[in-house]
Symmetry: D2
Subunit: 354 residues, 4 copies
């Protein structure tokens, strides 16, 4: 099989390491370089235990990315948003496709960046052409032909997979949508910070960035696209004392005249042919453990037309924030961009030979 | 100081152990007996490490409670609801006051028991006279004169402390109230069950009893009393991979014409003279670690009148489910019933001598 | 590629699930059946999330194993030792090869079973022919031609990989060997037991079965074979508040005249061509996280010829107790028995095509 | 009761916070100042939730300690060793007694400091007069009359409590002593470091500073004093994924002619009148959970005269590294120095009145 040359920038972050791990077993790509300033000079194997050819690579500094990328078809940017905003245009100019795991190209409105990301967008011209890479919910042809894919955020992936099918099917009222979600600590990235030290996080749970998390506009954008009109949204994230995984609990309301079984049916219909989204029978079956370490999401819904809040719909979803919320979704997108089977390297492929 | 004779039934459960721990340092009571079928014959010290006089007691079986209680002024029932329903009437008949930590006497409507607790209430005549023992929110004189106190549930304590002041002050619309909450595993009690085994709980978070948790009617009852009209309520509990602590995140909506600062003011006013409820500056300061191991609750609120959901109010609260959500609140109630200072044994008392 | 028909008994235990996970991606085998009384009738996918052909299988009861196995070349027994002792002879009689993950066939001396395992060995005739399947330390040809492989225990794998190379090289004195080791809770198997409930294990560490753990004779047997004479051994296991992983710290003493660098050299020499044993530069680099989720062991040694205990050698090793300590080592053994590349399904194979 | 004026330096570290917590409930002292550069200006209550008079104090910077201490009888130094080495002489000169929780004054030999602590001791003249404050093992009169108490390290406390009684009784051979121990992360102090970040510590266990931990000379000094001759010692510490607690497993050997029951008897005899050291029936009962949150140590021993290593003695001990391993032991020492009952503020005192 032909092997496409690719690179990984930000390869020492938690998402970057997972990218390397997935790509180490990917039969259709050759990782030409991995870049990290922090670990410059060390081998991937020494730092991460990853075996094989990827394990043998040494990290190059970010300053050498453009040179290293010159023979690559595509590059993953697992970098902070401002770094991605600088690197992506330079790579695209050189004909290198980009899958960006940061928020730099996810919001279509450049005016949203100063408020939510704290910087003026200096590559705003790319926003219109960037494709939001959530394969199960967007046009896969658009991803396949994209030069720049904005890989969705972790919370937005979990929330959109839970709610977009219900919104598209017109099952919900206009009541505002409440998404309470919780994430493992790796969602904050690799940090030398007291806030994320073991003693400050263990045995604790706390909300953070209440009413002002930067994923709020991204979730609102996804849900509004699904509803084909603006939605009202409250998103409250919480920090969990676990390394990985996101659980999202969304509270929405059934539109008048819609049967209580409709939300579950809508989820099943939306994901019938989507092996990477597992629809379970009830929210109690959806757990972080169900998806951590896998490229899949799990979703389920419960609806009541009686009790203390008739018409209430609870949609629960879970993903591994580093995989379906970052690295494995990025590889799904790359596979589509390269014309490879979408789940290459993501699921055991029956019939594969050693 | 005079010492009141008391007893603890269900003393080997997690709440029962915490009761013993608090009472071991209580200068105004003498624990006459501790009852547990599971640990019959063993000493409290051997099983729990609790020192002092309480540590020297041996557990008696539940069958001997009525005899053991005959000289007691009051008894704590840290037993399952059905056991409490049987024991409380027998103790009350003998003139022994009861603080019941189960749900057996919390709901004023006997008809709610079959649906939410799975049994017909066989002591329904006691429900009208049972006082709901949440001292910061109910009439303390009623607790002081009660013969039977229904000690609130853990989730209901966290939710009511967060929301009742806002409802009483008339700050909220009639929009339904969404309470997403999460609890440490001790909330499920001592269990020899695969579901609560370490390997099934660690590194995981999952919702449970979605739209059907037995604390829902209790929360609704508290909030409706606060609002002086029925509220609509959705309550979604989650299981956390920690031993103790509850975090509750409530999403409600500001009534028209009410300023964004009003909810925080209402909380501060309600708890100004309540040392066991700490009002913090923002929800991000409220964490499980802030209250675990203490008899206190922490609450804070954030309100927005712009953004993706104007009028949204997020109230976050935390308690130790075994203390303010069970044992220390029970001792608060006992202290009131015995005419002792409410926080005896619950806070370091300045001026105490060895 | 030809696919060998195999089966898995005890498929709902933690090792059994890992076996199914590894085998689901194994290109050379077809899993014909998975047996579990506990989960009879359910699908593997529903219970474990494992995708693909293995995920589609339904668990059959243990009573149907012999029938189900009749077309199989080999069967894994991930069953308690007494169950394995009954099943293995019956399978072998039918011409089915067996990889047994229990202790039933690990000790060559039948007289050791009553003391250490609590039962008389009723298939003692098989012990002489059973091959101890630790590929990096035993004769691989013997495994390849075995009909019955006794898959090593988790602690014994960790201890033997650390110490056998040093013993074989004659670097150590006869001083007794101290192995202190600690294991994640999955080592105790799936349990509905208060002892292994979350609240009893979390935030705690404790020793167990001190001076009487059933792995002691197995470790002593491995080390004595390595030393070609009986060794004295003290083994103290501890329970850790994590799900998986073993860390073993062995304290031994350098023989007179041997240089302080010799132990590290011996480890590097022993594992130079063993991709599944990683020799690291110092014990501080060996951690449980280094190997959990991988089929590899990590080992390192530190030696001092001065300080408070000259001649002291500390050898630290780690493995995933469910993989190199159980399931992945079992697949290594199966691969050898079937004539397949030893690491099939265990490491990303460069050049594999989707 | 008279209240002695005291101060706490390094009050924002984990041990410093526990000191404040214990002292907040201490009836015999008045905390005049708490010093911390990190939290200068904030109140104790805001940062830690500690209530009462101590909660109302604001942290002063370390530069103001000498001034703040001028009316104090005694000061706790919960500071790094080099800071303690500077502060202690200045305080002593002003007539203020010092309980130092660092290692600065624990080793009697000044020559040990450069190698084990990395600095030349610039107050070596104080070493001879500093009293090692392990009340259960040293002369309490010496502590009572000391001006400078060196509060023992956490690992050394756990190891000495386990082994000194056996050494004093002459029960052990001269074989070298192996102490494998493991500590919760708070033992490393408050850190903004990637090494101690949640994601690097959770789900992991690893050894550190193998054969070169700075507590090794301190343990050797304690054990050698107990044995009245130099001992050989290997100490291997491990980092645990929990916040607090130490478990120490010591392997030693019974001297010829000593009965297997002698070690247990020696422990019981040594601690018969020591309420803060609990001797349990077997090592399996000693766990970190048994002592965390308490001022007590737990110890137990198992001895075998048969099996794979006849004569082997395993002594297991546990303490809360922040309490018996730091803050509560420091208060024990202060109580002795002030002539107060030794356990004041450390155990529930029967008969205390509100």
């Amino acid at each position: 099989m032909h092997k496409y040359a690719i690179g990984v920038v930000g390869a020492s972050g938690y998402s970057g390491i997972e990218l390397c791990r997935v790509l180490a077993a990917h039969p259709g790509v050759e990782v030409r370089f991995v870049a990290s300033d922090r670990w410059e000079g060390a081998t991937v194997r020494a730092r991460t235990g990853i075996a094989g050819a990827v394990g043998g690579l040494s990290y190059v500094p970010h300053a050498r990315v453009l040179k290293a990328a010159q023979d690559c078809v595509a590059v993953f940017l697992a970098t902070p948003a401002e770094a991605s905003m600088e690197l992506a245009p330079a790579l695209l100019e050189r004909g290198v496709k980009v899958v960006d795991l940061s928020g730099a190209f996810r919001l279509s409105d450049p005016a949203a960046y100063p408020e939510h990301y704290g910087f003026e967008h200096r590559a705003a011209g790319l926003l219109a052409g960037a494709v939001y890479g959530l394969p199960e919910l967007v046009d896969r042809d658009a991803i396949a032909s994209a030069r720049l894919v904005a890989n969705p955020g972790c919370y937005p992936t979990a929330a959109a997979l839970a709610l977009v099918p219900l919104l598209r099917a017109g099952l919900l009222t206009d009541e505002s949508i409440v998404v309470d979600a919780a994430s493992g600590v790796s969602g904050a990235g690799r940090q030398a910070s007291e806030t994320y030290s073991f003693c400050e996080v263990a045995d604790d749970v706390r909300p953070y960035k209440v009413l002002r998390h930067q994923h709020t506009p991204e979730i609102a954008q996804s849900l509004s696209r699904g509803a084909r009109k603006p939605v009202r949204l409250t998103f409250t994230p919480h920090l969990l004392p676990i390394k990985r995984g996101i659980l999202s609990t969304a509270s929405v309301r059934l539109a008048p005249g819609i049967g209580a079984g409709a939300p579950a049916e809508a989820l099943r219909a939306a994901y019938r042919d989507e092996p990477l989204v597992e629809v379970l029978d009830g929210p109690e079956q959806v757990s972080i453990a169900r998806t951590v370490g896998t490229p899949r999401a799990a979703v389920a819904v419960s609806t009541t037309d009686s009790g203390f809040d008739p018409g209430r719909v609870i949609v629960v979803s879970s993903i591994d924030n580093l995989l379906k919320g970052a690295a494995s979704q990025a590889v799904q997108n790359l596979n589509l961009m390269l014309g490879l089977p979408e789940r290459t390297a993501l699921e055991p492929a029956p019939g594969v030979s050693p």
